[in-house]
């Protein structure tokens, strides 16, 4: 593994090569195994500082990073927009300067504008992990999704995943489908015409109905969350309409069960919108596994990245 080049930041999936992806995904396995012990912590990042900088609300991702950092024995500071001086009008670069002075080793950042983590990365010696920026990227989500698929299908090449829902606003769809494609997993999209981007069809199949979904025989159905907070543009008539057309109801669940397909969702779910209560109890649901794998993958990412203020620089 010594041929890997030191990497400071994780900003997207596009810039990763296969050996880096393989390195992170294979290291995540022993990290996950630690969760079975009564002591779930290892001393690897003792004395290092992780700063969680969240400009957008997120409980799941920020706590997942927090747990990951704690299990590596790093110290964690949470810096959220509502309690920071951002509301007092501080500019992004001034905030970065402040953070630089705090000498954090790792900065985990989520921002509503695409590209902000990249700007922060250029201006700090700390390793920056993009925890979601606008519609751009969410690389650790993609890595945890890949880990989850590989656990179920050790021979993952040629497996089929259909991503259902609001593709247009989804950085999850973007990062996850890019990573799956790199790993040789086939990806298809299914969703309202207004929410499936036209320019992303180079390597991706587009399916037009649930019938086409079932005919394609997917190994995994990946439901996206309907982002109720982003529906200002009236992309579909109503929630009830969406549920009727695209939601995973009992009938569709039965078809999945017959095919033996697995179910994934990045969370948090909207019950009664993209998924029903019954589907939440589906025996082949991987939703909790995704949460657990998220911690393992984030530990592997923090363990892999090399801040510039390390021992040898």
């Amino acid at each position: 593994m010594s041929e890997l080049k030191p990497r400071k930041d994780l900003l997207d999936i596009e810039s990763l090569d296969l050996s880096e992806i393989e390195y992170v995904l294979s290291n995540a396995v022993p990290f996950k195994q630690l969760f079975q012990r009564s002591v779930k912590k290892v001393p690897t990042l003792r004395g290092k500082t992780v700063l969680n900088l969240f400009y957008e609300p997120s409980t799941r991702t920020s706590s997942s990073f927090e747990v990951a950092a704690h299990r590596l024995s790093a110290d964690v500071t949470n810096f959220t927009v509502s309690s920071s001086s951002v509301v007092k009008g501080e500019s992004l670069l001034d905030t970065i300067e402040t953070l630089q002075a705090m000498r954090s080793d790792y900065i985990v950042i989520r921002h509503k504008a695409a590209g902000v983590p990249g700007i922060v990365a250029q201006h700090t010696k700390a390793s920056v992990v993009n925890a979601g920026d606008g519609f751009h990227a969410h690389p650790t989500q993609a890595l945890l999704d890949a880990m989850t698929v590989r656990e179920v299908f050790p021979e993952h090449q040629g497996r089929r995943v259909v991503i259902v829902g609001d593709i247009l606003h989804s950085r999850v769809a973007r990062s996850t489908s890019t990573l799956f494609h790199k790993l040789g997993i086939e990806v298809a999209y299914f969703g309202p015409g207004t929410l499936v981007p036209a320019e992303r069809h180079d390597f991706l199949r587009r399916l037009m109905s649930w019938e086409e979904v079932f005919d394609w025989k997917p190994d995994v159905i990946y439901l996206l969350r309907v982002q109720l907070e982003r529906q200002e543009g009236a992309f579909f008539p109503s929630i009830a309409e969406y549920h009727k057309m695209y939601g995973l109801n009992s009938l569709r669940l039965d078809r999945l069960r017959q095919m033996g397909s697995w179910l994934m969702h990045p969370g948090p779910v909207n019950r009664g919108v993209e998924i029903t209560d019954e589907a939440m109890r589906y025996e082949r649901s991987l939703i909790s596994t995704q949460v657990e794998n998220g911690i393992a993958v984030r530990m592997a990412v923090l363990h892999w990245l090399k801040p510039e203020n390390g021992v040898d620089s």
Binding site: M1, L4, P30, Q33, V39, V42, P43, W304, D312
Partner: protein, 183 residues
């Protein structure tokens, strides 16, 4: 310069010797073996197999990967450790644990292993068995059982090869680095 210290027969005799001294101690205690990846695991398995043959008793063997406990994380040369899973398919609480590694050198690996092991529980006793003690300790940790003690310098390498791991005959060799020859 490469010098063979032990060949297959000496290693076999050495493992027999290790097995004897381990079971001679604390005969009433419940004992489990834990090998450090990779060759410590092989050593532990060989000792367990010898005991199975001689005494018809099974000694469970677990494996420990200590990469996450090392004190040199972030230093050059260890930039991208490939992590392995640790498998301790038994409780270690109240047990006598014998740790196995093929060579003890600075003692830092064993320090990390002790820290890793106690995260799994509280053994009644922990002992250390090695094939080769090459001296030059940087930490006050000593083996309870060893087969061979070598006087070495920091410019030499002691390499233990096992047929299971190395695709070659069992051996212990001492290699001197070039810089020493030039000096």
């Amino acid at each position: 310069m490469v010098k063979e210290i032990f060949g297959p027969q000496e290693i076999e005799d050495g493992i027999e010797e290790l097995a004897q001294s381990i079971i001679a101690n604390f005969p009433d205690e419940d004992v489990v073996f834990v090998g450090l990846r990779t060759r410590g695991v092989t050593l532990a398995k060989r000792v367990a197999a010898t005991l199975q043959k001689n005494r018809h008793t099974d000694y469970p063997v677990g494996t420990l990967d200590i990469s996450l406990y090392r004190d040199d994380f972030g230093h050059r040369g260890r930039e991208f450790p490939s992590l392995e899973t640790s498998e301790l398919p038994f409780e270690i609480d109240g047990k006598r644990v014998v740790l196995f590694d093929e060579v003890i050198y600075t003692g830092r690996t064993i320090r990390a292993a002790l820290e890793g092991l106690i995260d799994y529980g509280r053994p009644a006793r922990i002992e250390l068995a090695v094939l080769v003690d090459r001296g030059l300790r940087e930490i006050p940790i000593q083996p309870d059982y060893f087969v061979l003690r070598l006087d070495t310098t920091a410019l030499e390498y002691v390499k233990v090869r096992f047929r299971e791991d190395d695709d070659q005959e069992d051996s212990v060799v001492l290699e001197s680095s070039k810089s020493e020859l030039e000096a």
